[in-house]
């Protein structure tokens, strides 16, 4: 329902402005704080005006937390997660929408259920699996033959372990499914008449058509991958695989150390830049992919 009255208009504008300030507030604190000296950042009241120490603080943060390695790791992790999620969800939705198999609904509901089981809920079993991939097979062999074999493979301290458990995504699958369902059945049939098989149809027709969708998903999933904290914390003990979110913790001032929040804030600023950049570049498609279906 769309209403047009001056009061409602004014009210919505006030709400909008408040929301904007609320979102912008923390960001202003980061930008201002990151460019101040230790004395300035700890002054009461807080000064919201940026100063000239930004580069100094950023350099300090970069060195203290070894952000070079961490940024690279986070970038690799977020990229793999994004790519994996986009590819996997496109394929899953493809098989759910375009194939008639008896188990279709079963698989659809299995995917659906995972919406209720985010990583945080299943973190212990997932860790158990990642720490010892062959445990079920070992148990099976031991149970069937009585022989205890000692094959072992774990994903701790590896990019695979960092990304694989995060790749499966119900949200992405649904996004694709909704889009695929808007396509007329005749499109697939026309392709069949033209002699194209399912794989060919997927690459020649579906992928080009779902470009905006894909970019929207890329945006969401890159930010999601970049922001992971709990999972890397569990999987990674080797500092060579450390991610930015873990470095952020290292940037927090120690209990009795110097309260150099300016360095912490400068570090956060660096860390939030890549996802900000991705969103800025892709936001046009992001909105289009989620809102409209191109015909």
């Amino acid at each position: 329902m769309i209403q047009r009255t001056p009061y409602a208009d004014a009210f919505t504008y006030v709400l909008m402005a408040l929301g904007f300030l609320l979102l912008l507030g923390p960001f202003a604190v980061i930008v201002a704080g990151a460019s101040q000296t230790v004395q300035q950042v700890n002054a009461v009241p807080f000064n919201f005006l940026p100063q000239n120490q930004l580069i100094v603080n950023m350099t300090a943060a970069w060195q203290r937390a070894d952000l070079g390695t961490a940024m690279l790791n986070s970038f690799i992790m977020a990229s793999i997660v994004t790519f994996g999620k986009v590819a996997l969800s496109a394929l899953t939705a493809f098989s759910i929408v375009f194939f008639r198999t008896p188990l279709k609904h079963f698989f659809f509901w299995i995917v659906f259920i995972t919406l209720m089981l985010p990583l945080e809920v299943r973190v212990v079993p997932t860790y158990a699996v990642a720490a010892d991939l062959f445990e079920p097979i070992r148990l099976l062999i031991a149970w069937v033959t009585g022989i205890t074999v000692s094959i072992e493979w774990n994903l701790l301290n590896s990019y695979a372990g960092l990304t694989l458990p995060l790749v499966a995504t119900a949200t992405g699958t649904f996004l694709y499914r909704q889009f695929f369902m808007t396509l007329p059945d005749e499109l697939a049939e026309a392709a069949r008449m033209d002699g194209s098989g399912p794989i060919r149809f997927f690459f020649d027709v579906l992928l080009p058509l779902s470009r905006t969708n894909m970019l929207a998903l890329t945006t969401i999933m890159f930010v999601f991958g970049w922001n992971q904290y709990l999972w890397p914390l569990l999987m990674i003990t080797d500092p060579a695989y450390k991610t930015t979110m873990m470095s952020l913790v290292a940037l927090l001032p120690a209990e009795n150390g110097t309260p150099d929040w300016n360095v912490t804030l400068a570090g956060s600023l660096i860390i939030m830049l890549p996802p900000l950049l991705v969103v800025a570049v892709l936001q046009r498609w992001f909105v289009r992919g989620l809102v409209s279906s191109e015909k």
Partner: protein, 373 residues
């Protein structure tokens, strides 16, 4: 060029059967139109020929080869869909050439054939456009070009003109007919529009509720409908139908209080039977009040070339097509004349046609309408 034989073909979805044993044979180069109301199974039959639907029972043979188990691409059919089903992200040229690309035809040859095909359908200037930048008629042409370029033995059309406006539909109808003359590939055209069916068909198949009602040449079907369903479905406005009992003692059929004169042959052959009588609106003649059978004008439709009078006749409304020089207005009392030779007679129970020769004086036995298959 290919002939198609459909043998006892059935289709069911779970327990609901939609086609109950269809037997048809289409000769090579024939233009066949399958006509029927929505839900009669005509599209399903077409899609089974194309290979887009599984065949529950029976056999479909194309060019002497049973194709039940073959993929669509192996059947040598091309299909034009109702909503065109163009690939929205490809240019017109890519749309037309996609089948060739899939088949691995070299680029140069592909380009030449695309240009040639586009010329046939008059799309030469639009090759680099996307479908979204085309009008409905142009999209339909792309869809046809996409079918033509494969040089198929069989063209399948699934209500291809339904999405076009009335004027364009007439133009495209003529173009499809011309195209068929030029390519002379066997064509199967599904529609619910009887004008399309009458104008396009070499052979017309009328379907109802998953069964074939009648097969034949359009004019034969128009003049000798095999059942009340076909009689009412073909012709606009539809044939007037009424229940009647053939009088045992006089050459009339009794409908309520009315006595409708019939031929002596019909009277003799069907004396005492309950039948359904039918007459086409254009065969009814309107007479001044007092002559013929009494009727009261309900309303008049002006067609420009003539007018259609809807008149209360007994307890039902009869349509009569009359020339412009007869003027009537609603509420007028008129007389209706139903020429006995133009009366169609159907069995009341089964709805099937009862054939009576209308030659004067000779009594011929009743014969069930033979269905040419």
């Amino acid at each position: 060029m290919a002939d198609i034989t459909v043998r006892a073909v059935r289709k069911s979805y779970g327990k609901t059967a939609t086609l109950h044993g269809i037997d048809l044979a289409f000769a090579s180069g024939e233009f066949v139109v399958i006509l029927g109301p929505s839900g009669c199974g005509k599209s399903t039959l077409l899609r089974m020929i194309a290979g887009l639907e599984d065949i529950t029972g029976g056999e479909i043979e194309i060019n002497g080869r049973v194709v039940n188990k073959l993929e669509p691409r192996e059947r040598g059919c091309a299909m034009v869909f109702q909503n065109y089903a163009l690939y929205p992200h490809m240019t017109v040229a890519d749309n037309i050439g996609y089948a060739l690309k899939v088949a691995g035809v070299p680029k140069a040859e592909r380009r030449a054939r695309i240009a040639e095909t586009a010329k046939i359908v008059g799309l030469g200037d639009y090759l680099q456009r996307k479908p979204a930048a085309l009008s409905g008629g142009q999209r339909q042409r792309v869809a046809m070009a996409r079918a033509i370029i494969r040089e198929p033995g069989v063209f399948l059309f699934d209500e291809p003109l339904s999405n076009l406006d009335a004027t364009l539909r007439v133009t495209m109808r003529a173009e499809i007919r011309k195209l068929h003359q030029r390519l002379s590939a066997t064509s199967v055209f599904v529609t619910h529009d009887q004008v399309e069916a009458m104008t396009l068909a070499d052979k017309l198949v009328v379907m109802n509720k998953g069964q074939v009602e009648q097969v034949g040449q359009p004019l034969d079907i128009y003049h000798r409908p095999a059942s009340t369903f076909v009689a009412a479905f073909i012709g606009a406005p539809p044939m007037n139908l009424m229940d009647a009992r053939i009088d045992a003692s006089a050459t009339v059929a009794r409908h309520e209080h009315l006595a409708i004169p019939i031929s002596s042959a019909m009277a003799a052959a069907l004396a005492g039977r309950d039948v359904t009588l039918g007459i086409r609106p254009e065969e009814c003649r309107v007479l001044p009040a007092g002559e013929g059978l009494p009727a009261r004008v309900d309303f008049v439709e002006e067609l420009g070339s003539g007018r259609i009078v809807h008149a209360a006749f007994g307890s039902r409304i009869f349509a009569a097509a009359i020339p412009l020089d007869i003027r009537v207005a609603s509420g007028d009392l008129i007389g209706l004349a139903l020429p006995p030779a133009q009366l169609h007679v159907f069995d009341r129970e089964t709805g099937r046609r009862l054939d009576v020769t209308h030659s004067m004086g000779r009594h011929e036995p009743v014969r069930q309408a033979a269905e040419a298959v």
